[in-house]
Symmetry: C2
Subunit: 406 residues, 2 copies
């Protein structure tokens, strides 16, 4: 008799997955990157070089480097952070993770109990929000301005939570190329946020996954670079700067925190060959790669901004991206982007609906995130045109559809 799996599962499992059908024709979601920029030959060379020299070390867990990750890779990461983000790391303050998603999970697991309150930007990475909800942790969205998360609003929110008798537990921020708004927090604001955290004795979780993607080059110092208290736990990733199929991220933190994170990482280590592919590449070629990638992304960002201007006209509100791989778009109130997500998805245009990236439903419902890094310039134009057609048909926005305007 066929086994009835459903009756054997835990209480309230998530809904089953559907078989994967391939990527949509117009792929504007999920952190996908520019295919032509992938340094495949160089990554293979890094693997070959290290495996030729140290291949025998695959016979032990963690190579000869312990649970923090392959030591030469940690050295390359520390050097990169010090050079690019003004940090003061060395191999002992780095923990290599299986993507920054594992970093998120580990850090949340270490600090948060159900009922705790986390403060983050009002618009925020959906994977962070879903992980917090899964832990029954409450989150409060703080307003953003052009300098990033507002420090006074943060201070006020923490005080309110305290006076309501709840437990403020962590400030989570994406200060550099904020996801989804693209904002880059000013250095002054970083210092102000640090001061608020110190006043309330809270840790800061600085998620810096997109920080290498500022088109003009340069960036403010990391908040962790300005932190003299050991209050900031930092994470980064190579998903955005190299490619998301490579599942390698990292945490930088002082030992009192890192030593507490390590026992929670029960995966037997992050993949050795994945780390080897990046080690020599990050040490020698990363800066040039990122500079070139940023030029490509800038062209695609402009193509998307132009296409939205052309096909949506005044119906669309957005800031032209100066960094990152996405554009945060606001449409008129008649549009429900969660419905748009369903309808457009069925017609081959994949978007991230705003409610998944927002702490406030009414704010998110009018907004969507569009990733411009993976599609070609032509696909961007075609996809945005199609999206405008769908919006016109379903929501009457823009008032004249793209086909009519052409």
């Amino acid at each position: 008799m066929p086994f009835n799996a459903e009756s054997a599962l835990r209480a309230n499992p998530p809904a089953p997955a559907q078989p994967w059908k391939g990527f949509p024709k117009y792929n504007f979601v999920g952190g996908h990157n520019d295919a032509a920029s992938i340094p495949a030959i160089e990554l293979a060379a890094s693997v070959t070089s290290i495996l030729g020299r140290e291949g025998r070390d695959l016979a032990t867990y963690g190579l000869q480097s312990g649970p923090q990750g392959y030591r030469p890779f940690r050295e390359a990461i520390a050097s990169m952070l010090n050079r690019r983000a003004g940090m003061k790391e060395n191999q002992s303050s780095i923990l290599v993770t299986s993507g920054s998603l594992q970093a998120l999970s580990l850090i949340f697991d270490l600090f948060l109990d159900p009922g705790d309150v986390v403060f983050l930007e009002k618009a925020c990475y959906g994977g962070t929000l879903s992980r917090l909800r899964a832990r029954s942790v409450e989150y409060i969205g703080v307003e953003l301005d052009e300098e990033g998360m507002q420090a006074d609003a943060l201070d006020e929110a923490i005080k309110q939570v305290k006076s309501a008798g709840k437990r403020p537990k962590m400030i989570y921020t994406i200060p550099t190329v904020q996801n989804p708004t693209g904002r880059v927090m000013s250095e002054a604001r970083r210092r102000h946020i640090l001061a608020v955290a110190a006043e309330h004795n809270l840790p800061i979780f600085e998620d810096d996954c997109y920080a290498d993607l500022i088109f003009s080059g340069g960036r403010p110092p990391a908040i962790r670079a300005l932190d003299e208290d050991g209050r900031v736990v930092y994470c980064g990733s190579f998903s955005k700067s190299i490619g998301p199929a490579i599942r390698v991220g990292f945490i930088a933190a002082d030992w009192p925190i890192l030593s507490r994170l390590l026992p929670l990482k029960t995966d037997g280590g992050t993949g050795a060959i994945e780390q080897m592919a990046l080690t020599e590449y990050v040490a020698t070629k990363f800066d040039a790669h990122v500079a070139s990638l940023n030029q490509t992304l800038k062209i695609k960002a402009e193509a998307m901004a132009d296409a939205i201007d052309e096909y949506f006209g005044a119906a669309a509100e957005f800031e032209k991206p100066q960094s990152g791989i996405f554009l945060w778009l606001k449409l008129p109130g008649s549009v429900d982007t969660s419905r748009l997500f369903q309808i457009a998805g069925a017609e081959g245009v994949a978007i991230n609906p705003g409610v998944e990236w927002s702490t406030v439903e009414a704010y998110g419902k009018k907004r969507l995130r569009l990733c411009f890094a993976n599609p070609s310039v032509n696909e961007i134009r075609e996809g945005i045109s199609k999206l405008a057609d769908i919006c016109h048909r379903e929501f009457g926005v823009p008032q004249r559809s793209a086909n009519i305007q052409r």
Copy 2:
């Protein structure tokens, strides 16, 4: 003021890690493998070949294969399982995981609530037991005989749990090269266990991580190969057959279970380059590699058995390993192997204490697991001699110490 991390953590975090000090001189723990058998050049060639052809696909999550893992790799795994273990898989029934440890976590997460009861072998992999305890799941150890887990004892244990008003929820077994006993379950016993599971309508979790390491070659069919109900969820790994620093395992299951596991795998996919390293290798060279590795392991197993005979004499009880990478050793009742673990560890001899690998403390306390795959034959002899010296000094066992016998 320095941030006080301790006061900011969740309730009851695990104890902090100590900085890693390198591997012990005599490394008899943890699934480490034979360094000279690592096929480093061939793994690098597999990466180079695939990256040269499909490197652009690193720009998207999951390559062009969706969340189950790189499709050519899943095809290679299915073919290997069908060829070696009599299974009937194809790429759609395989989920690539970040080591078999992730497979354990996902499967336990899907099926188990706190208070559920899992049935497993009386001596069992410590990582399974710790994961179940962390979920507040109860486990019951079933007696083993020379054919593996006793089916009648299993049936009896399930009935007792039911009549106590508890929830039997899963049978977990390591039927092929059982960890730590090395037993290989007979085909008849596999069918009997399946029948017991069917009678009680329970799923079976078949953990087959060591199954390729039978020195004489050949193996009984997987329990999943004999299952016509879709009751068995299966996991395997390349940690033991290739090397543990490579973090790639896999699950084989029917779609009603696989589709439920996928939403729990929130890691953005298993590392692409790690999968690429194995894809061509597993498809073309795996069988020859494993045959050669088994010859090496057989020599080391004999060296360890001989050394124990020589240095412990009649004080040690064990079966000479015919498979796997470890030996399950029983010492007289005056020995407490948890204390031995501490003392020997401080003197450079690392062992796995039996209580961590047992469901019954009194049974485990007299036993230890020794892994013979990583040390050289000389290191095996020296380490076992040293372990005998320590046992003599601390516990009076063996009665005459190794130094005296020589």
